[in-house]
């Protein structure tokens, strides 16, 4: 019985190809926009949070503004911090800008960063060739340097820089390693930097205090507790003065970013859902027209023994069929739009099962909701009036 109804629906839809297509268009556009929007936003969210995670979700950054009495952190403060719970390591950053020279070639305004061993241990993908900074370098304030990819291009084109010398701020250093080019986020790019032991940096750049500290965590979930612990160390160190430092928790940022993006998806999906409702009204309209046109047919079918339920089922199925076909076309179309857009913007594309089910479910639901009223109307037609209408 269901099969018969589906077959009849199919035949009726094929018979009025153009009209059926125009009716479906609303659903097609609605579903296509839902799929495209959700997929693009999801792709963008994934790409961005991947990049942010790359920067370190397991990391808390302390930036010190200092007080008149105490401008930054010293090595003792660093030691105190690294002794707190849930801390894998602490990596200070000292940075300045200066000119560098190799074989008479000068590069101006290069960022010189002072780092420690922890910095390289936490992210082994940083180093391309050579060796990282080690404890020995730190203790002896060795004149060693690790250089970024742009520096290699500028100064060491065609030569292996390892073991070569580099003059930084008038002092000669030995190149011990090179960095992998970092992509994307300019904020985290080391491409135009040279990295030296922070102890060396403090001496050669004339810096007395550490103004930025990355604290690496064992367990990201406990980040909030660790932030509290850090305050416990830092507050007494700065004599409980306000605004002496800020603590930046990367995990927090990723979380709030992701919740913002999912809000946005919801909002966009809501807007697209409105177009689905408009599509549904289109379907309802077509069903009502179709019922008026087929009044005599409905009357005849009733005279031949079709029950009201049967007539109703027939028209609801027709409506579901219309909106499902529209939904499937919309799914393909939306997928294509999202795929093209993803390729153009350069973000990831993944059509999730949930999104597909959402689209199919939504269009099926539209078919039921907007087909119900016309179908009910058809089922209640009086066979005599219907037959007489011819």
């Amino acid at each position: 019985m269901l099969l018969e109804s589906i077959k009849m629906s199919y035949e009726n839809i094929v018979r009025n190809k153009l009209r059926s297509f125009l009716t479906m268009l609303g659903i097609v556009i609605g579903v296509a926009s839902i799929i495209a929007l959700i997929t693009i936003v999801q792709g963008a969210t994934n790409s961005i949070s991947d990049q942010v995670t790359e920067l370190g979700a397991n990391k808390i950054t302390v930036n010190v503004m200092g007080t008149p009495l105490k401008q930054g952190l010293n090595q003792e403060d660093m030691l105190n911090i690294s002794e707190e719970e849930n801390i894998k390591g602490v990596s200070p950053t000292i940075s300045g800008k200066t000119g560098i020279i190799y074989e008479g070639k000068l590069m101006e305004n290069v960022t010189v960063q002072g780092k420690n061993d922890v910095y390289f241990n936490m992210d082994t993908s940083l180093l391309k060739t050579g060796r990282p900074i080690n404890i020995l370098d730190l203790n002896s304030k060795n004149q060693v340097v690790i250089i970024g990819s742009d520096i290699i291009k500028e100064l060491y084109y065609g030569v292996d820089p390892i073991g070569k010398d580099l003059v930084i701020n008038g002092t000669s250093y030995t190149v011990i390693g090179t960095l992998n080019p970092s992509s994307g986020f300019s904020m985290g790019s080391n491409n135009e930097s040279v990295i030296i032991p922070y102890t060396t940096a403090m001496r050669s750049l004339g810096v007395k205090d550490i103004s930025s500290l990355d604290v690496f965590l064992e367990d990201t979930a406990l980040a909030d507790d660790t932030v509290t612990d850090l305050k416990g160390v830092l507050n007494p160190a700065f004599n409980y003065k306000d605004n002496a430092y800020t603590i930046f928790n990367m995990g927090d940022m990723i979380e709030s970013f992701e919740s913002m993006m999912s809000m946005m998806s919801l909002l966009l999906a809501g807007i697209a859902a409105i177009s689905l409702v408009v599509g549904g009204i289109g379907i309802m309209n077509m069903m009502l027209v179709s019922i008026t046109e087929r009044t005599m047919e409905i009357g005849l079918r009733k005279a031949l023994g079709a029950t009201p339920k049967r007539i109703q089922l027939q028209f609801v199925i027709e409506s579901i069929f219309l909106s499902l076909v529209g939904g499937l076309i919309g799914l393909v179309l939306g997928g294509l739009i999202a795929y093209t857009a993803a390729a153009l913007i350069g973000i990831g594309f993944s059509l999730s099962i949930a999104t597909i089910l959402l689209a199919v479910g939504f269009s099926g639901l539209v078919g039921i909701v907007f087909g119900y009223m016309p179908a009910r109307k058809a089922s209640q037609l009086n066979p005599i009036d219907a037959l007489r209408s011819l």
Partner: protein, 227 residues
């Protein structure tokens, strides 16, 4: 002979605003299995109203109507649909074939609603088309058939469920005399094979093909004996 139809004091009124129009007044009619009855009356006499009530498409205003022992008053819409499917085979003046279905598909329609499997449906419909002499036209659409052929398809459709009563409203009304006579011959044959037929007509020449003629005038019935 078993009684298939029994109407007792059936009245039907239409209301137009305050005004009441009684189209059938206290009609009594009994039809037995195997009868060929024609209901003869002029235009506006209430023939189609009778047909609608007999065919369970409409309900009387008052009175008792038993069809194959079922009291129609007790039935809901769904049960009425089953009764129409099982007990009645309709033949209409204007054939009422679905224009986009082939002759065979039109004949199959009532069997779909009877829940008959597709293979059996096809076999029974082909047999019935053979019975009305159209076995070579099964794939034709109604527009590709003559009026007489269309009415034969309609008769095949009416008979395919083996209904208790073949109910025809002006079955020759849209046909020329010769084709009309052929349809009447078919009716006589069917009745000869035992089919109960109720035929509604305003044409006394057509009515004479029936064994029993009942006159209807202004909603009143009167029986007339024919040889």
């Amino acid at each position: 002979m078993a009684e298939v139809l029994n109407m007792q004091n059936i009245s039907k009124s239409y209301y137009m605003g305050e005004e009441e129009l009684e189209v059938l007044s206290k009609v009594n009619l009994t039809v037995n299995s195997g009868e060929f009855l024609s209901l003869l009356g002029p235009s506006g006499s209430g023939k189609s109203t009778m047909m609608n009530i007999i065919g369970c498409l409409d309900m009387p205003t008052s009175g008792k109507y038993l069809l194959s022992g079922n009291d129609i008053e007790d039935l809901d819409e769904t049960e009425l649909a089953f009764i129409r499917n099982k007990e009645i085979g309709f033949v209409f003046q204007s054939f009422q074939l679905l224009p986009r279905l082939s002759a065979l598909q039109n004949v199959e329609l009532p069997l779909i609603y009877a829940g008959v499997s597709s293979a059996e449906r096809k076999e029974r419909s082909l047999n019935m088309l053979d019975r009305v002499g159209l076995v070579d036209k099964t794939k034709n659409l109604p527009t590709q058939l003559s009026g007489g052929q269309q009415q034969r398809v309609a008769i095949a459709r009416a008979l395919v469920t083996e209904p208790t009563i073949l109910l025809a409203d002006e079955p020759t009304g849209a046909l020329d005399q010769k084709t009309g006579a052929q349809v009447m011959e078919l009716f006589e044959e069917l009745n000869h094979d035992g089919r109960t037929i109720i035929m509604i007509t305003h044409d006394i020449g057509i009515a004479r093909h029936a064994k029993r003629v009942v006159n209807i005038l202004d909603g009143h019935l009167s029986e007339q004996e024919v040889q």
